[in-house]
């Protein structure tokens, strides 16, 4: 019952649209589902986290740097204070010695010297505890102490004696003896103070230069670290953005394979990939609907041809049956038999006329198989026989010997050729011909099929838009503008290309290139 096939087809489509279409187009839905799961199953390391981590590391490094510098500064400060202390101390000693000298030379007052040495001693007593480490330990401190003590005692002795014997005491032999001793102690104390100052200055310089190095190196290290961090971040963003730009291009060209995980972590781009995969799913569903819509349109065109063609056998049957009814009694049995045979043959012919169209119209789940393009084209030309005859155009099929098989969805590929041939028939003038030429691709890993017509051609300014959806040059109601766009989509899904060359007034040539057998399987395909 051919008549009942159409409604069944429609309901099936409706079911599909309500959610079960997941299998409709090349099983992409399952792939997308898998891709989404794999995308999500990876460890999470977001761009935000990378930025945070970088900043935290910079902060920690800066903190350590500040601590080290602070410690160093403290040391510098301490040493400076120590130097100040030693300086004060030694200047007091020097002052004391100056007075002492004056005393011996001119017999001046000893009080000033006493006062100075007292001051020196008090400075040393109050501060030396604090700097005992820098002084070189308790022993060295004690030694200086004892020397100061000795100096002081000598001065006191001198003073006491000087009080008793006022006149020119400083030139007495006793004084000379003490003077010698005093000079010895004074010199020693000053020398050790000077040594300390020299040593301390050296150490201070070292500490200062260390501080300088710490500054320079830490800033360098910080710069290098920032550079590395920025490089990692930028290259991560840049390469991923580039990748997504490529995806967008690929999807725009009709390749609806999902985005697969390419890194071993998950981040904001994963969310984007997931969103794009969802989008692909939607586009894929819509494309499936578009393909089906367009197929319906082609079926409509073909049906008109079949409806006309079927009139011939129907007419034969009608005439025969009516003549049988009219002349039944006058006819011989042989004649009756012949007429009945005619009827039987004509019903058979009707069936054949419809069968091709039904095969084409039947919606099957898309199956990938190996098939021979030359056979497919023969069947397609057969399917279009009525249209071809009606337009009075000759269609030549030329296929190379041992034409390789290709892998794909034969029904959808046939839809493409139906579309191309119907377009060619539309463009051709009566009496011209259409050539379908199948050749091997230049590199041998592809096949080419060209559909060439010698019709009106496509104007140059229109040529770039012929594959755009809803673009049509046909009058309103005649073309949907979907044919070439849908065809290109189907071919793209087979890993092939559909291109056009045309010259206005001379004709057009649509060329389809298919890869041989190795149709890109989604699982072996890595983006």
């Amino acid at each position: 019952m051919p008549g009942t096939d159409r409604p069944v087809l429609e309901t099936k489509r409706n079911d599909n649209e309500s959610g079960e279409t997941t299998q409709a187009v090349y099983d992409h839905m399952a792939d997308i589902h898998d891709a989404q799961k794999t995308l999500l199953s990876r460890k999470h390391f977001s761009v935000r986290n990378q930025i945070y981590l970088g900043n935290v590391l910079v902060f920690l490094f800066a903190l350590v740097m500040v601590l080290v510098l602070t410690l160093n500064n403290n040391q510098v400060q301490k040493r400076l204070k120590f130097l100040e202390f030693v300086n004060d101390f030694s200047s007091e000693i020097q002052q004391a010695r100056r007075y002492e000298k004056n005393y011996f030379l001119y017999g001046t007052n000893l009080n000033d010297a006493k006062e100075n040495i007292h001051l020196a001693e008090s400075i040393f007593t109050t501060k030396s505890e604090e700097f005992s480490e820098l002084l070189g330990g308790q022993f060295a401190r004690q030694e200086i102490f004892s020397k100061i003590g000795a100096y002081k005692t000598l001065l006191e002795q001198l003073y006491q004696r000087g009080q008793k014997d006022q006149n020119n005491f400083h030139v007495t032999p006793f004084s000379k003896e003490i003077e010698l001793k005093l000079r010895g102690y004074g010199k020693e104390i000053l020398t050790s103070a000077q040594t300390m100052i020299t040593l301390e200055k050296k150490t201070l310089e070292k500490t200062l230069s260390r501080s300088r190095y710490i500054h320079i190196y830490s800033i360098l290290i910080l710069l290098v670290f920032l550079a590395i961090n920025t490089y990692l971040l930028v290259s991560r963003l840049y390469s991923t953005l580039n990748r997504f730009a490529a995806y967008a291009k690929r999807i725009a060209s009709g390749d609806f394979r999902p985005i697969l995980p390419q890194r071993n972590f998950r981040d904001e781009f994963t969310d984007l990939a997931i969103a794009i995969n969802e989008m692909i799913k939607e586009i894929d569903l819509r494309e499936a609907v578009l393909i089906q819509t367009h197929k319906m349109k082609a079926i409509g065109t073909l049906t008109a041809g079949v409806a006309h063609e079927i009139n011939n056998p129907l007419n034969n049957i009608m005439l025969t049956v009516h003549m049988l009814l009219e002349d039944y009694h006058e006819l011989s049995e042989e004649e009756i038999m012949e007429m009945l045979k005619d009827v039987a043959a004509e019903t058979d012919r009707s069936k054949k006329i419809i069968r091709n169209l039904l095969d084409f119209a039947r919606e099957s789940t898309s199956t990938m198989e190996s098939f021979d393009l030359s056979i497919l084209l023969k069947d397609t030309v057969h399917l279009l026989e009525n249209q071809i005859r009606f337009s009075g155009i000759q269609v030549d099929l030329q296929f190379a010997e041992n034409f390789p098989k290709i892998h794909g969805d034969a029904q959808k590929v046939q839809q493409v050729f139906v579309n191309l041939l119907l377009n060619a028939l539309d463009a051709s003038i009566k009496g011209s011909k259409i050539q379908v030429i199948g050749t091997l691709g230049d590199t041998g890993d592809s096949v080419k099929v060209s559909v060439i017509d010698y019709g009106q051609g496509i104007p140059k300014h229109v040529l770039p838009s012929v594959f755009d959806p809803f673009f049509t040059t046909k009058s309103k109601g005649k073309g949907t503008g979907l044919g070439l766009s849908v065809s290109q989509g189907i071919i793209a899904k087979h890993g092939g290309t559909l291109t056009v060359k045309s010259e206005e007034g001379r004709g057009s040539c649509f060329t389809i290139t298919f890869p041989i057998i190795n149709f890109p399987e989604i699982h072996t395909f890595s983006l």
Binding site: I317, L319, E326, D342
Partner: protein, 136 residues
Amino acid sequence: MSKPLEILLLDDEVIVGKRLKPALGSIGCNVEVFQDPELAVKRIAEKDFDIVVTDIYMDGMDGLQVLELVHEKLPRTKVIMITGYAMISLAREAMEKGAFDFIAKPFKPDDLRAVIAKAAKALGFSIEFNPKSVRG
């Protein structure tokens, strides 16, 4: 009925000729049947037919060309077009080119007989035609 109506029937469907020859013969017509338009055109050149019944879509030559050739030779000949591709545009074209009538396939023998009777009347013939076949 002194002289039978001379009819040429051209259709590339063999059965059409086989069935219509006796069908028209029974109403007193002399029918010559052709499948090949070339042969038919040759025959038309040789003999004057009163009525030419021709299919439109045939390999080699189409019915409209046959119509033009017939009228070039003998304008009074009535040409009746039959076709499976019944489209208004086609019917209009045929009528504009001077076809007597246009019959869409599938038709019953009586449909053609009626048109032929009409044509015969227009030509001044009279043929007895009482529809007798079962209707429907």
